[in-house]
């Protein structure tokens, strides 16, 4: 049965539809895989075996009765722990929310349930999605299935690791500055950040409201498209949700034809600062697209130079306000200050926030509080908003010359645990290629371009498209994937280590 977990979501869906497999078998197979490997990977914070199996049984029952079901009905999925789920804890990787079971489902979760996808559990993440390595989770690191001593990316390292280690064919993620795309890149999986407003944010515990966007994680471009279709669409509960039809991403992935398309290589996101092996795989991927009939142009986005600085003002500013609600008054961790017999509400708030938040969260709250302070607002938050407009202008000009833009997703392959924890700036610089898309609200995809020669670890290829043109990501991504699979002679993840023999456990 172990080969069930190697199947793509699309193949699982066909087997379920034809009756070759039941959802119960598929779900159980993935739970067994988790049992076998997650001691080493630690991708899950919570495994919801019983409720997943009961959802699977229900779908099998409905299918047996001949009900017409969603294409993905019965295909199990893992959910990032930043999305609220009834009946399961939602902790956001923070001690602050340890054991908190939300009274409502995020819109994305409701859509998954309505489509009949059994939810396997909640995946690990950097605390409140702040980080690029999942080392900032209060519940321990998640390991990269390619090398258990390395990071799986972040903040959605749990979701990337869960699909890359075959514990789930699909997972949800959220991407504020690259938290879907960078983990996909370093684990050899596929991830998409849709257009801002394409997927409802209702029930996503907010990091930075104007940047956050939920999206799909999977192992193939088509699976990502299938999940994208389930997650996306207008939600009246989210004012920033786009009230327009979702681009037909599944059809776009099926098309997989780039003949005549103009591919723009972003000058500022290649070359210096990028690991040679990452750059080589990127250049080859571009050549594959040319071979497939695309035209390559070089574009320049000069304002990207300021993107990182702007991002690290806007994100902490919004986060400092979004995270103010964690005050121990209504939910979450509550501790009293040491040695105070009858503490005031303010003392309890302060003590609880001190105990509940980790260092990276505190760092960003302090940064944001400072950036929004009167007297500094114009210089910091105000200037950052101006940069944001300049970046949007750069993108607009670039998309005048090219249908999609491409770059390596991250400058390097997965680094080792602890390598950058003492140097936040080095960690932040890793987001250089992914951040501009969040600042401009445009969609982006990362898919594997191969293994870097120097370390044998996956490198990511990023595709960016104009807002609302998410379908272009899938057309280009699917075309590239086809050629790479031919070249590799099978999925890249087939070359990842067999984790069932891994002895390492989390924290060891």
């Amino acid at each position: 049965m172990s080969d069930i977990t190697r199947l793509s979501a699309a193949d699982l869906a066909s087997s379920l539809a034809s009756g070759e497999l039941t959802s119960l078998e598929v779900t159980q197979a993935h739970l067994d895989r988790t049992e076998a490997v997650d001691g080493a990977v630690h991708a899950y914070l919570h495994v919801a075996g019983e409720s997943a199996l009961s959802a699977a049984r229900e779908i099998d029952g409905r299918r047996a009765k001949g009900e017409s079901l969603h294409r993905l009905a019965g295909v199990p999925i893992a959910v990032k722990d930043v999305m609220t789920t009834t009946g399961m804890p939602t902790t956001c990787g923070s001690k602050m929310l340890q054991g908190w079971v939300p009274p409502y489902d995020a819109t994305v979760v409701s859509r998954l349930k309505a489509a009949g996808l059994p939810i396997l559990g909640k995946t690990n993440m950097d605390e409140f999605a702040m980080g690029s390595s999942t080392e900032h989770s209060a519940y321990g690191n998640t390991a990269n299935p390619w090398d258990l001593d390395r990071i799986p990316g972040g903040s959605g390292g749990g979701s990337s690791a869960v699909v890359a280690s075959f514990q789930a064919p699909l997972a949800t993620g959220t991407d504020t500055g690259g938290s879907i795309r960078q983990p996909a890149a370093v684990t050899g999986s596929v991830g998409v950040k849709p257009t801002y407003g394409g997927v409802s944010r209702y029930g996503l515990v907010a990091l930075a409201s104007s940047l956050d966007q939920a999206g799909p994680c999977a192992r193939t471009v088509m699976d990502t498209a299938l999940l994208h279709e389930v997650m996306a669409g207008h939600d009246p509960m989210d004012s920033t949700s786009i009230d327009a039809p979702v681009p037909d991403v599944v059809a776009a992935a099926e098309r997989a034809d780039v003949a005549g398309m103009r591919i723009g290589v972003v000058r500022e996101l290649t070359g210096e600062g990028f690991q040679p092996g990452v750059q080589t795989r990127f250049d080859e991927a571009v050549q594959h697209l040319v071979d497939a009939g695309a035209e390559v142009v070089e574009v320049s986005c000069p304002s990207f130079e300021y993107a990182l600085a702007a991002y690290y003002l806007i994100l902490p500013s919004e986060a400092s306000s979004n995270l103010a609600r964690f005050d121990a008054m209504r939910y979450g961790l509550r501790v009293g200050p040491d040695g105070v017999a009858a503490p005031s509400a303010e003392q309890v708030m302060a003590a609880s926030r001190d105990a509940g938040f980790g260092d990276e969260v505190k760092r960003r709250i302090i940064l944001g509080t400072y950036a929004l302070s009167s007297g500094y607002y114009d210089a910091y938050y105000g200037s950052a908003q101006k940069v944001r407009r300049l970046i949007a202008d750069d993108f607009a000009a670039a998309f005048g010359q090219a249908d999609v833009l491409v770059s390596p997703t991250a400058p390097t392959t997965a680094f080792r645990f602890g390598e950058k924890t003492d140097d936040p700036m080095a960690m932040y610089r890793g987001d250089i290629a992914t951040i501009p898309a969040n600042l401009a609200g445009i969609p982006g995809m990362s898919l594997p371009s191969g293994l870097a020669d120097e370390d044998g670890l996956p490198a990511g290829f990023q595709i960016l498209a104009p807002a609302m043109a998410d379908d272009r990501l899938y057309t280009v991504g699917a075309a590239l994937e086809q050629r790479l699979l031919e070249k590799w002679g099978g999925p890249l993840l087939d070359r990842a280590p067999d984790l069932t023999t891994a002895r390492q456990t989390e924290g060891a």
């Binding site: 929310l97 944010r201 029930g203 907010a206 409201s209 009246p236 306000s321 609600r325 008054m329 607002y377």
Partner: protein
């Protein structure tokens, strides 16, 4: 309450001899929308604590706000009625500060982009000459939309405030109820009439909001709340509107919160004038601070110090899209505005045939709407005025409240007053009995008919009883009867009194008079 009067005050006239007051008024109005500003929860007043809540208004992780279109509509109508410009594009902003009754620890409000700005409201105060009224123009700086906070109940401790309380309970039913904050520009030039102007403004604003039907504007329930800013500056002559006076820089201001009745608005301004003056004349300086008004003692006490360091870290609310009312919609809403209050008062005075003095009394009592509704319910304007400005106004005054609030508290409605008057017109009650019935209604004994029935108050309609009494009184007083027979009709008064006594007051004096004169052949 253990508030102590530890602040020195100067006499009002003495204070005004040396200083010119400058006021600023901030009024918060809870809108009467069926649902909250950013979620679908009900807004019913007085519901069980924490029963009108949801993930959004409890600020649960992941919940997002959605703007209540009705709230925006009300805000625009209020802005238009206050002669404001309406923004063609504006945003909400987050006002960040920590407080247990604020679920998100930020209030969704508006900052530098209010929905309405630059308006005015003309208010009338009695002319100093004693005849007619004077108009004072209150300039409106802005009216903006925001959400209310929850309500804390501090249990234990002596003050009811958070300091010293044993524990606090929080009710989030109020959290997220739409509020409009209306902020005036600094009100200058009112001179010694500043307290009256402040009261007249809040009263006029309340009338306007009621006419707009956007809020129930009940100050005692907190659906309309007023903060009073006040500062003094040296006086530069007798004319508070002179250029010389207006050129004098403004002094340090205090903000008095919790001013929740018309009388208190006047009282708080007056008290702060006297307190500031005492501080300034003794060589001290005013501390910029928040002060609390105590309705019971009529004084303010120091609250938290409001330093410039207080920083709300405003920034545009990223969870909401900008509000961009299109011009056609704004014009549609303009067409729904009620008649401007000043124009309306003039019209009503003409329709009701009131003298300037009568109208002034009605305005001072805040009885315009009550009389209008009473007339609509069938009473004559004179009767409506007489009943409202009588016992109800007197009792409101003794209870240090205003007539509308008082009537609301005791449940006296315009239709009941009209009913009372109709009983007089129909001859069921005489004037004296009607007064007793009204007192019964005010004492909570029920509606007029109910009170009259319960108290057995009814003019005797059966003429035989009256006739018997008249005959008895004539027989008892032969000499007076003789005088009347001789044409001295004024003497009938003495007999009427006795007849009424016989009838225990339950007779129509007019009818008794007619009967006496008829029997004595003098009719």
């Amino acid at each position: 309450m253990t508030t102590t009067r530890d602040d020195a005050v100067l006499g009002y006239d003495e204070a005004l001899a040396q200083f010119d007051p400058v006021m600023g008024l901030e009024v918060h109005v809870e809108l009467g929308t069926a649902t909250k500003m950013f979620c679908g929860c009900a807004t019913t007043f007085g519901a069980e604590p924490n029963t009108q809540v949801c993930p959004v208004c409890l600020g649960l992780p992941g919940a997002l706000p959605v703007v209540n279109a009705k709230g925006v509509e009300s805000a625009i109508r209020i802005g238009l009625a206050l002669n404001c410009q309406i923004a063609d594009w504006c945003r909400f902003a987050r006002k960040n500060y920590f407080y247990p009754d604020m679920p998100k620890n930020f209030q969704t409000s508006q900052y530098d982009e209010p929905i309405a700005f630059d308006g005015y409201l003309d208010v009338e105060i009695p002319a100093e000459s004693g005849e007619g009224t004077e108009t004072y123009r209150v300039e409106i700086e802005r009216a903006h939309m925001e959400e209310d906070t929850g309500k804390s109940l501090h249990v234990g401790g002596s003050t009811g405030r958070i300091q010293g309380a044993e524990f606090s309970l929080v009710d989030y039913n109020r959290a997220g109820i739409p509020l409009i904050e209306i902020v005036t520009k600094p009100l200058v030039g009112a001179g010694h009439r500043a307290p009256e102007v402040a009261k007249a403004y809040v009263s006029a604003l309340r009338d306007l909001l009621r006419a707009l039907d956007v809020s129930d504007v009940k100050m005692e329930q907190g659906s309309m709340r007023c903060d009073v800013n006040l500062s003094l500056r040296p006086k530069a002559g007798e004319d508070p509107t002179s250029d010389a006076q207006l050129a004098v820089p403004m002094g340090t201001r205090t903000e008095t919160k919790n001013v929740n009745s018309l009388r208190s608005v006047e009282g708080a301004v007056r008290f702060e004038v006297c307190r500031h003056a005492a501080v300034l004349t003794s060589g001290g300086s005013i501390l910029q601070e928040t002060r609390h008004w105590h309705e019971d003692t009529g004084i303010t006490t120091s609250g938290r110090e409001k330093s410039d360091a207080e920083d709300y870290r405003y920034f545009p609310e990223p969870d909401l899209v900008p509000v961009a009312p299109d011009a056609a919609w704004v014009e549609e809403l303009r067409a729904t505005l009620p008649e401007p209050p000043a124009q309306r008062r003039k019209r009503l005075q003409g329709e009701w045939g009131y003298s300037d003095l009568e109208m002034r009394d009605v305005l001072n009592a805040g009885a315009v709407e009550l009389i209008e509704e009473t007339v609509a319910a069938g009473a004559t304007p004179q009767a409506a005025r007489k009943w409202w400005l009588g016992e109800p106004a007197r009792r409101a005054n003794t209870q240090a409240t205003d007539l509308v609030t008082y009537a609301d508290q005791v449940g006296l409605t315009p239709s009941q007053v009209a009913e009372l008057e109709s009983m007089v017109v129909a001859g069921r009650l005489n004037d004296k009995m009607a007064r007793q019935v009204l007192e019964g209604v005010l004492d909570g004994e029920g509606g007029p008919t109910q009170v009259a029935d319960a108290r057995g108050l009814e003019l005797v309609q059966d003429d035989s009883a009256l006739e018997g009494a008249v005959e008895k009184v004539i027989a008892d007083n032969p000499d007076i009867a003789e005088k009347i027979r001789g044409g001295k009709v004024q003497a009938a008064g003495a007999l009427i009194g006795q007849v009424m006594k016989e009838m225990k007051g339950q007779a129509d004096a007019g009818k008794a008079r007619e009967m006496i004169l008829a029997k004595l052949g003098a009719a």
